[in-house]
């Protein structure tokens, strides 16, 4: 059979969901959709760049670690892959409260990419295709398919855009500017115009990455060695903790100095950021070294972390020194740092500019308000970071699949997860820079801990169909044990007898004057569930565990069963911080009331008398789905919310 050269070729395979881009958002979106039984195809400009980590070689970090655990609790993949491919791991903020404990792992980049790619390649219902998507096909406000650079058309029911930093990407350092995506990969230069023609508003953001330096050219004796944790905690709730106790690689710490800063200052005029060559808005939380030197002129040194990019490569990532200065200045600047005097640069530092959207054009489901069936996630939505991307990709993929299946889509709210905070902020608040997750953005962070992500989200994952019955049952059992154990501790009275006083004395704890409960003792900062074992005679509740937790005294956690460790952690946290947790739970109740007040789709704000003009404009522009979301739009006052409530009451009748 001969095919005509002139006609557009149309793929006749039945496709439900098209995912554009196979970065961290695209991978989660594609996997979720395929796992929910939908025929899914993921397009990438390069199959070799699936789940690429073009910037820092880490997964996790403060609040980002929370996101990874939440992604895992919902049935996502990131946590599992990093557990298999990390080369160093740390629990950050360990000496702080449980809300800000956060896992951060160094990844073997190549291994991470390979491992994720393998998962995608072996996923049933999922097809991988190397092609650049240039057009989104829309009919009557509904997505109908996509078209590739070669003109081929793929019909589908939903599209998830996860184009990351590839749209009209431009990499810049000094006077050099390349129209490429990260790592010199091909940019996607046509999709922006297609989106604009669909009425989608685009922003131009900027970010950057430091140089990579050959390990053999670094003098590590001038740096401080940084080790991973002795006992590693896995990201995924499904990973056996014993499997992640591996030999870890080291990172190194060094500092910039006045000479470095002098070099930078003397060459600022050659920086594209200051010369105006870069127009995109850069992130404040991830400043280039030239930004830091200018903005914090009083600091005479900045930390520089030297991190391996993997086990099979000599490339080292120079954390803290991203830059877009010209090549010669980069050499001088890096070589002024202690230990980098003879540095050989493998890849230059560069800034990258790319097109993304104002995410307020999206519903909290991550579907475009204007175009039915079109979803988006990741850096394309104006966020930054692998973890933020994965979280959105997962939600976008899930919702695209749920929508096609005729099921209710999910919205995780601000009281349920960092994912909720992330997406709500993106779709509600104006942002002029790539958005990064921070624990301070979560108002209920004491409830949104990384340790209880499973308790918060795994039920949702199970309802959707991404979490197995077995895994869900494990969670239910665990929760039951936690609750009954807390109850028992609250009700077990402890007398002021000698045995008790001896234990207290051992931990420098004030002796008892009269009887109290075990729970009260656990609340003392110097005591814990573990150390009270000798005076807690009835720990049989732990009978479900394989280990003998009743005899559990010291901190050698290695002897303790996984379930048991998890239970002990939860019991300690819930008892110790009971007062604060209750306070936040009360706030959440208030929050939920507004959140569940849905605003009808067809509401006409123009006819509501007494709404202030600014409020009408903002409400019309962003069409919030709930009173709660409306209340977070800047320019909408509490009085406007009252007016809306009264109006809706009248309207609803």
């Amino acid at each position: 059979m001969k095919y005509s050269a002139n006609s557009v070729w149309e793929n006749r395979d039945e496709i439900d969901v098209v995912v554009v881009g196979a970065g961290h958002a695209g991978c989660e979106a594609a996997l979720a959709s395929a796992r929910l039984g939908l025929k899914t195809i993921v397009f990438t400009v390069s199959v070799d760049s699936i789940a690429l980590m073009p910037c820092n070689p880490n997964i996790g970090g403060s609040s980002k670690g929370h996101l990874v655990r939440e992604v895992d609790a919902l049935g996502g993949e990131m946590g599992k892959v990093i557990d298999q491919t990390f080369i160093q791991s740390k629990m950050l903020n360990k000496s702080k409260g449980p809300a800000v404990h956060s896992l951060r792992a160094q990844a073997d980049k190549a291994n991470y990419t390979r491992t994720m790619r393998k998962v995608l390649e072996n996923q049933e219902n999922l097809e991988i295709k190397q092609a650049e998507i240039t057009d989104i096909l829309v009919k009557d406000g509904k997505v109908t398919g996509v078209q590739t650079y070669s003109g081929a058309i793929y019909r589908c029911k939903a599209v998830v855009l996860c184009t990351g930093t590839y749209l009209k990407a431009r990499c810049i350092y000094g006077e050099i500017s390349n129209e490429t995506g990260p790592n010199g990969l091909q940019a996607a230069n046509y999709l922006t115009d297609s989106l604009k023609s669909l009425g989608i508003e685009m922003y131009r953001f900027k970010t950057g990455t430091p140089a990579r330096i050959d390990k053999r050219s670094i003098d590590f004796s001038k740096m401080e060695e940084q080790f991973g944790d002795e006992r590693v905690v896995p990201f995924s709730f499904t990973t056996n903790p014993e499997d992640v106790q591996i030999e870890q690689a080291s990172c190194w710490l060094t500092y910039t100095n006045e000479t470095t800063h002098e070099i930078i200052r003397a060459n600022l005029d050659r920086s594209p950021l200051f010369s105006g060559m870069i127009e995109g808005t850069g992130p404040r939380y991830c400043p280039s070294i030239e930004d830091k030197v200018v903005k914090f002129a009083d600091k005479n040194k900045h930390q520089v972390f030297i991190e391996p990019e993997g086990l099979d490569t000599n490339e080292m990532y120079i954390g803290g020194m991203s830059s877009s200065l010209p090549e010669d200045v980069q050499y001088a600047m890096y070589r002024s740092v202690a230990g980098l005097e003879n540095a050989k640069i493998v890849r230059n530092a560069y800034a990258i500019e790319y097109d993304c959207i104002d995410a307020r054009q999206l519903y909290p489901t991550l579907e475009f308000k204007k175009i039915e069936g079109l979803y988006s996630g990741g850096q394309f939505n104006g966020s930054s970071g692998y973890e933020e991307a994965a979280a959105q990709g997962l939600v976008a993929g899930i919702n695209a699949a749920l929508k096609i299946s005729g099921r209710d889509q999910i919205v995780i709210d601000r009281s349920e997860g960092y994912i909720g905070v992330l997406i709500d902020d993106l779709v509600t608040k104006e942002s002029h820079e790539p958005y990064r997750m921070m624990t301070s953005r979560a108002e209920y962070r004491l409830l949104l801990r990384q340790d209880n992500a499973d308790q918060r989200l795994t039920k949702i994952g199970h309802d959707i169909g991404l979490i197995s019955d077995e895994r869900y049952q494990y969670l239910l059992d665990k929760q039951e044990i936690i609750l009954s154990e807390i109850e028992r501790l609250e009700q077990t009275n402890i007398g002021a007898n000698q045995e008790v006083q001896d234990v207290l004395k051992q931990y420098d704890s004030t002796p008892l004057n009269s009887g109290t409960t075990l729970a009260e003792l656990i609340r003392r900062p110097e005591l814990s569930y573990e150390v009270l074992a000798p005076i807690d005679k009835n720990r049989e509740i732990m009978h479900k565990c394989a280990c003998k937790c009743t005899n559990y005294v010291d901190n050698s956690e290695k002897t303790v069963d996984k379930l048991c460790q998890e239970v002990i952690e939860q019991v300690n946290i819930n008892i110790k911080y009971d007062g604060y947790i209750r306070r936040q739970q009360k706030q959440v109740e208030q929050f939920k009331k507004l959140e569940t007040k849905r605003i009808p789709d067809n509401i006409d704000y123009n006819i509501i008398k007494s709404l202030r003009i600014e409020a009408v404009q903002k409400l019309n522009q962003y069409r919030p789905i709930s009173i709660g979301q409306a209340s977070r739009i800047s320019g909408v006052s509490p009085a406007d919310i009252s007016v809306l409530l009264v109006y809706m009451e009248q309207y609803g009748k």
């Binding site: 403060s62 803290g320 009264v646």
Partner: protein, 457 residues
């Protein structure tokens, strides 16, 4: 929506015979139980609805007033919720004290129009009334927003802003360290923060004490004295605040270029502002003063326009008349001790306002001025809105909330809680204080983090 218990003064804040403080919400019966003392012990939670109880309102050991308490249980009340009305003796002080007491025992000050809003949302009003309800909410809010900040004294506002900035700075530091623990350490910060918070507590304590003396907001009729330079405005002010009249507050320490005094006339309090003389001027400093005078006059509840009767009217006078045409105003023809060239009729032909002849220098005609003002007040021509009082109580509640939150910070530090717990209460304090100055948190914290501290990466 919110099921907490709200309270407000239901009667006008004038010298009426009785005043009513109203509470609505689930806890109102429990609250009255705690502060009511009658001849017999009463169990308000189980008492019959629509009953009246004679007794006293107590704040701890202190008896505040002899009252009648009306109990109306939901749904058979205006709001549809449990409602308690406390009828007490009129007079600003007593009514305020009772409102403060119910707030102290668990109610919160109602938002503007909130009783009506609750009545509506609880289905106690006809749906056709929705628009009226919306109007009430939005108009009252507009007023409250305006009064909330504008009633705040300049120095108090400044102080609160300073305290907020300090709180934000330290919160941002803690949060930066939590967010980027490898670059910034917050270890041992508690000790430092303890000293800072101790100082802030002291500042807040001062503000709270001064709020008891009514010094935190400018209660009273906002009165502005305007006139051309040398018309005798300052002399008039001096006479009005003279020794035989009570000076309620002096505003020493404020740096505003408009002099302000508060005086009492027959139980009416006036906040009087003396302004720069109004005339066309090229002098920049003077121009600023004149412009300000115009702004104040525009915002005033009452304008006293002083005319130098010994000089002819000129275009500056006509400009002032235009400015005050729609305002409540009294016109004083000053310097009656000198040879006057301006008569009441001459002014009357340009503007229809009460006109009096006085001599500030010889203190003549002042009595008549007082009488005129009193008449205008009691005939309702000029009044101050009860929102002002409510505003004061809201401010005080917010100050107290901030104080309590900061004390929790101290407790967390002393109990060796991890540093991230400090920011919870620090931010609560920040938010409470923001409700006084009309500012919300928004992106403040994130902005502060990025602008003050160098994040790594």
């Amino acid at each position: 929506m919110r099921k907490d218990t709200i309270a407000a003064i239901a009667t006008a804040m004038t010298n009426s015979g009785i005043g009513i403080v109203r509470m609505s919400g689930e806890e109102s019966l429990e609250i009255i139980q705690k502060i009511y003392k009658g001849k017999k012990e009463k169990d308000f939670v189980n008492i019959d609805t629509h009953t009246i109880h004679y007794g006293y309102i107590l704040d701890g050991d202190e008896t505040i007033d002899e009252v009648l308490v009306m109990i109306m249980k939901g749904p058979h009340s205006f709001t549809g919720e449990n409602t308690v009305e406390i009828n007490c003796h009129g007079g600003v002080y007593v009514v305020k004290r009772i409102l403060e007491t119910v707030i102290k025992y668990g109610a919160r000050p109602a938002e503007p129009g909130e009783f009506t809003k609750r009545a509506f949302l609880n289905g106690k009003m006809d749906l056709s009334q929705a628009e009226a309800v919306i109007d009430i909410i939005s108009s009252k809010n507009e007023y409250a927003l305006k009064s909330s900040v504008s009633q705040l004294k300049g120095n108090v506002q400044r102080k609160i802003k300073e305290i907020r900035e300090e709180i934000l700075y330290h919160t941002a530091f803690i949060e930066t360290a939590l967010d980027d623990p490898e670059h910034i350490s917050v270890d041992g910060y508690g000790e430092k923060l303890h000293t800072v918070v101790d100082n802030l507590l002291e500042e807040l304590d001062k503000l709270l004490k001064s709020s008891d003396n009514g010094r935190i907001i400018k209660e009273g009729i906002k009165t502005v004295i305007v006139g051309k330079p040398n018309a005798g405005k300052s002399s008039l002010l001096n006479v009005l605040v003279g020794e035989d009249r009570a000076i309620v507050t002096d505003i020493a320490g404020t740096t505003r270029d408009v002099l302000e005094e508060s005086i009492q006339l027959h139980g009416i309090s006036l906040n009087i502002m003396d302004t720069a003389g109004i005339r066309d001027t090229e002098d920049i400093v003077e121009k600023i003063g004149v412009d300000k005078a115009k702004v104040y006059a525009n915002e005033a509840d009452l304008v006293i326009y002083v005319v130098d009767a010994s000089k002819e009217l000129d275009e500056n006078d006509f400009e002032i008349m235009e400015m005050i045409r729609d305002k409540k105003a009294v016109i004083l023809l000053n310097k009656s001790d000198l040879t006057t060239v301006i008569t009441k009729d001459m002014v009357q032909s340009h503007i229809d306002k009460p006109i009096l002849s006085i001599s500030a220098k010889e203190e003549r005609g002042i009595r008549e001025l007082e009488e005129t003002l009193k008449d205008m007040f009691f005939h309702g021509e000029i009044s101050f809105n009860d929102e002002v009082y409510i505003t004061n109580i809201r401010h005080k509640t917010a100050l107290q909330d901030a104080y309590d939150s900061l004390q929790k910070v101290i407790m967390s530090i002393e109990n060796d809680m991890p540093e991230d717990f400090y920011s919870i209460d620090l931010l609560d304090a920040y938010e409470s204080l923001g409700s006084i100055t009309g500012e919300t948190i928004g992106e403040d914290l994130v902005n502060e983090i990025f602008s003050k501290f160098c994040m790594g990466k």
